[in-house]
Subunit: 198 residues, 2 copies
DNA sequence: TGAATCATGTAACTGGTTACATGATTGT
DNA sequence: ACAATCATGTAACCAGTTACATGATTCA
């Protein structure tokens, strides 16, 4: 149900599906990726339920744009949702599942390569977040003191991204270290992983 | 596709769907929650594809147990999966979406209560992870030095949980602080949030 | 001429949730 | 007598992904 509410949240200002996708890319997608097709489907559903209304404008390029705004009912639904209990616990981390079973792979290099690659990916994401911070929140003040209520809450989600990403990077560094030491022990000591496994 | 592979990973040892659920609860569920119904459906699918095989044993209590083991093809599928690129980027954090739009709620207390509740939840999860660490990885040695390859990788996912959870808790503490200061400023200074919003 | 961007979608499928059903045994 | 636990599932539904379709304009 969350994409529904996210769209309701963004549609205080009238926007088309296509433009919403762009807004996603530079903010929401960091904690809630969504594809254009699904945005369209969800907008239709929300309109059918009376939470959004829609007006069509012809555009000079391509087909006419459908611009959505939320209704009073839409706003109420959104408010009810943010006042619910924080919905924690249904996050799924595919890469951790892969790592959990990585001893199935015969070679240590697989694990080391994997975590090194994780590090690259996390580091790229951290940089993207840092760029948003410096471009869009330069004026935040200490702890977001100088921001409006709306921007303050957005700032908080960004901060959460920054600090968990930093923690993940630290984990990567420590892990790469441990793995290298393990590999060192094995090659000077006894046998490689491929042969210890039955 | 991940649940498929997780089940393949767990089914090196023959286990029933019911028992797999219990294994989930104390390890996998921390990064990949799954429900019993879906485990059953997935087991059936994997058997149909020839990645698992299944034998039925009558039990003293309730219906006969269906015990699954992975086939050679199942093991290959698992190995191929762990050697893929780390699958990062499709995680969805509902609670961050809620927070992002929380200025929609008229009162500051909503935000403060929300983050305080997040703190409680994260803290509970951290404790659960710490308990696993102390019960199942007491013998790990520095950086998991003393663990088998298999347990070492499990240990890594646990460590990732511990350190990201710690980072989240820090964020909660800082955020609660910032919010309290904001509330202080507002009530001694000007107007409450309910009235600043149009 | 052909690729990129604008702007909309539909259809088929896969994965996950919720609600319901069955029926035996064990313990209070 | 009743709840909890053991152990299996099905059916209906909802959310998200992938592939495909349309058709105009702008730029190299």
């Amino acid at each position: 149900m969350s994409l529904d509410h996210i769209l309701l949240g963004l549609l205080e200002q009238p926007t088309s599906g296509y433009d919403l996708k762009a807004v996603f890319e530079q903010s929401i997608a960091h904690f809630w990726p969504a594809q254009l097709t699904q945005i369209y489907r969800t907008l239709n559903r929300l309109e059918a339920r009376g939470l959004l209304k829609c007006r069509t404008f012809s555009s000079q390029k391509g087909p006419p744009r459908k611009v959505y705004t939320r209704t009073a009912a839409g706003r109420k639904a959104l408010q009810a949702w943010v006042e619910e209990e924080p919905q924690v616990g249904d996050e799924r981390f595919t890469y951790l599942a892969q790592l959990f079973f990585m001893a199935e792979s015969a070679h240590w290099e697989t694990s080391l390569r994997f975590v090194t690659r994780m590090r690259e990916i996390f580091s790229g994401r951290l940089q993207a977040l840092q760029q948003i911070a410096s471009e869009q929140f330069r004026d935040a003040g200490d702890g977001g003191r100088r921001l409006s209520d709306e921007r303050f809450h957005q700032y908080l989600t960004l901060q959460m991204g920054l600090c968990t990403m930093a923690a993940r990077l630290q984990w990567c560094d420590r892990t790469i270290d441990h793995m290298k030491r393990r590999i060192g022990r094995e090659s000077t000591g006894r046998m490689a992983r491929g042969r210890t496994r039955k």
